[in-house]
């Protein structure tokens, strides 16, 4: 690993590093030890608190909850991508009548917290099923962020691409559809997928309006006395499910990025605009 800050360590620095390593390990072991001690002390390891995992009915409910989460994610992702593509095109339009309203819409939905959006749809206008409110909220919020991602991607392409396309006699929409968008989408693929990870995590907000997804399942099981109110075990299980789903998506993003790097059709940008936008999308 090349680091900016440090020189290659000499003998004394190496000794010091070894000392840090020992201290670091001790701190880590102490922290893990404390967690295990607390878990044991408060009875989190008791069989009763984990026994819910054995019931077939509960397993089925867990799968149902997972499917509900995935349903919100799938619908939200498709609609958000559509919304993003449309409004990115709108923001890049040459006509002020289209450009300005698109920018206002994108800025507006990026500024309002997703929770408030979802509450507006659920309590404010009463859309009925919580699923509608969740999907609509996810679409508007993540769609707006994706619109910015697409826009940054198109703007980051070398100007020559556009100029060459015009020079061959392509029309505006052709330039966009055949030259700019395909390249922009490839360049921004990592950022797009990172935003989908955000979207997947945001489905958990459905919990706040009683959409029966994973967290709602966690609360249901966690409050049951017959299993000794296993809130901690159930939180661990649900967290593991979320983390593995998100890691799978992230892994897909890195895989695609690596593959596209080998691909000669992709324009290599000097500075990847994806980094800025990814940092922005929390």
């Amino acid at each position: 690993m090349s680091s900016v800050l440090f020189d290659v360590p000499g003998p004394r620095a190496r000794l010091r590093h070894r000392l840090y390593a020992v201290i670091g390990t001790l701190v880590l072991v102490a922290a893990i030890g404390f967690v295990i001690y607390r878990f044991a002390e408060s009875g989190q390891f008791e069989g009763r608190k984990w026994s819910w995992l054995e019931y077939k009915n509960i397993q089925l409910t867990l799968i149902d909850a997972l499917l509900n989460t995935l349903k919100a994610f799938g619908l939200g992702a498709v609609f958000a991508l559509l919304f993003g593509a449309i409004f990115a095109a709108g923001q890049l339009s040459d006509h002020k009548v289209v450009r300005v309203p698109s920018m206002v819409v994108v800025e507006l939905f990026r500024a309002v917290p997703l929770v408030v959006l979802i509450f507006v749809f659920h309590y404010g206008v009463s859309l009925g099923s919580p699923l509608y409110s969740v999907v609509l909220g996810l679409t508007l919020y993540n769609g707006s962020v994706l619109a910015e991602v697409f826009r940054a991607g198109v703007l980051s392409l070398p100007r020559g691409q556009r100029e060459a396309a015009y020079a061959v006699g392509m029309r505006k929409t052709q330039v966009m559809r055949h030259v700019l968008l395909p390249q922009a989408v490839r360049a921004m693929l990592p950022a797009i997928i990172s935003q989908l990870v955000v979207l997947l995590k945001d489905t958990a907000l459905g919990f706040l309006i009683t959409y029966d997804e994973l967290l709602d399942f966690a609360r249901d099981i966690g409050s049951q006395f017959q299993f000794g109110r296993p809130l901690v075990p159930v939180t661990i299980v649900v967290a593991a499910v979320y983390i593995s789903m998100c890691l799978l998506l992230t892994w897909l993003a890195t895989y695609l990025e690596k593959r596209s790097r080998r691909d000669k059709k992709v324009v290599v940008l000097e500075k990847n605009p994806a980094e800025d936008v990814v940092a922005a999308a929390v």
Binding site: S2, S3, A204, Y242, C246, L247
Partner: protein, 224 residues
Amino acid sequence: MDVLLDNLDLYGPGFLNTVELFLISAVGSLVLGTILAMLRVAPVPVMRAMGTAYVTIVRNTPLTLVFFFFALAFPALGIVTADTFGGSAADFFYTAALFALTLYTAAFVCEVVRAGINTVPVGQAEASRALGLTFGQMLGSVVLPQATRAVVPPMMSTMIALLKNTTIAAGFSVFQAGAISANLAERGENQLIGLLWVAVFFVVLVIPMTLLQRSLEKRWSIAR
């Protein structure tokens, strides 16, 4: 307008609490995030592994789940008792919200700081060492000024996200802007209008921050 003016006793403290929650967890996450970033670039493998593990786990967990853990599951561990935070449930939930927001945002701050340090070309540090600058001089006058330029715009995005994320606290019994609509409903007011005012509040706070961030980004990207 009436809904806002008639219920100023709800909106005032609600908005104030939002800002307070934001400011405290912003400072907390900046400090913790910087420490994590230091761990992640440290020359010792164990420290790097700790930083990486933290960031990977937290970044892939929904914030709502982090809130869920601190508000509901954490008390079951028996580390805190009912009267650790002044005894009232509201105080407990407020502290839980602070912890959830700080620990979650710190992972993102860490990534921003690390990316910022990495944008400074290695040659800059090498050149300053060759000139005989001490470690402090190198950091203070060569590396950090350049890193800051790269860090500030994405850091502002992270902070804007934190500001918006404070609303999740409303779902866990913390009284702030996001919780106003539920209280309005009890008074029989129109929830839609109540929520739209909350949305306006966030738009008013967030848009200037976004504009400032854009102008900084533009000015500093030319300087590079």
